[in-house]
Amino acid sequence: MPTLVENTGQSKVSAIHELGRADFISVRDFNFFYGKKQSLFDINMDIPEKQVTAFIGPSGCGKSTLLRNFNRMNELIEGVHHSGEIQLVGKSIFDRNVEVIALRRTIGMVFQKSNPFPKSIYENVVYALRISGQTKKSLLDDCVERSLRGAALWDEVKDRLHESALGLSGGQMQRLCIARAIANRPKVLLMDEPCSALDPIATVKVEELIRELKQEFTIIIVTHNMQQATRCSDRTAFFYLGKLVEYDNTHKIFSNPSEKKTEDYITGRFG
């Protein structure tokens, strides 16, 4: 197991070269509670680097809850607590020394409903750079172009970067939110049903984008849409009632699942 350089100031090289780590994110004995109600039970899984992992399962099965633990978004809710461990490249994300702000820059997130800020397209993309104090215009400009290209939105908006983001179509807004998330150069991209509010054409575009983005990012996507999981994920995890029922290669899950529950779900018998 590769170890990371710790607190020595020469860290930047570190694990970048560990391409394709199978345990890029590892979840160990993870339980999660909203107040007294337990919503995740003993989750254990390893999420591979630079692949797309899909979380599927019926509503309320805990897939979004787990996703929102990876960047500690659940901490915004009062009265939640957890036990167990989530590690990113072997380091606990719950460690006392982890700045949650830095964690969220390393693990970006795209939400179910697109949520562009009521600012210009440009300002939306550079938001993360601005709050971390970046003011150099050339850097910001580069970042905007790179991120919008990365989100396959550049050609559509390059002439109106300084117009309000709220004037974009639904699909464009969601791709803008993806651009905003990758502007930060995160390592992991969490996507919480990113296409559920989009029409089929916009959905296809975002799915294509997801396949492209995995060249650079480790992607975890929560989806209700099983076709979507087969189309764009490499690994699929099936959750049911807060438990991880089955986790395997997407092809295996959808063609020859080992668990009866999984089969029932993917064949549409419930859910």
Partner: protein, 296 residues
Amino acid sequence: MDTIGTHSLDFFKTDKHEASRALSRSLKNRFLTLLCIALSLATLVPLVSIVILVLKNGLPLLSRHIFTELPPAAGMAGGGFGNAIIGTLVMVGIGLAIAAPVGILSAIYINEYAPISRLAKTVRLVAKLLTGIPSIICGVFAFAIVVMRTGYFSAYAGGVALAVLMLPTILLTAEQALTGVQSAYREASYGLGATRFQTIIRVVLPDALPAIMTGIMLAVARAAGETAPLIFTALFSQYWANSLSEPTASLSVLIYNFSTVPFPHQIQMAWTASLVLVAFVTAANIIAQTAFSRKH
């Protein structure tokens, strides 16, 4: 590797510049939180000060006599403000007798009969604007239509002024109360062959009543505390009123008059009147809130 937005995988560790930047961000964050908390808690200061002073200065004179005797003449001791309490209640009553029917019936019209008519839109806008009209203007209006026409200051004039003041509150809360009634009730009633009038009287109004009462109590609480509409409509009186067509005392005008005289006893009586008034207004507000919460 370029420099922007690049983080090592080891996100515990950042370079020096980034670390100091992060530190200053988190310090700023904490400072703003503390500032916000401090400013918010600072609002407690005036309220606590008012409550303490009203209690401290108002309690000593609070006795049975306060409610039964007439205000003392300038510089004299003893006495009470029984006439002012009655005056306030009477004028609020007159105001309510005018404003409640007009307000509730208007609300019924704009919610039950013609919710999207031009009249309904106008009523809503006018009610909003009336809420924003300074209360002293209600006094000027009552002065013009009652005092100038009849030639004397009276409880009627004060009541009219308070009616104008109360109307928008009653109207807007009553409309909200009616909007809150489920349309399924109305449909059920119509489905059973009831007329519009029967539906409103037997189904809609009973359901909306608690919320309408809330609005009325809020209006009463506000009107009882108002001074400006009364100061030159009902004026003031040292005596028990014999009729509604003579100058009439009220608690709020008594506080105003006594607060600026050089006699300690009168000033103390102003505090006691404040205590009674604040207690009354608070009680009306609490009744308003609880009547409302009973429904939801």
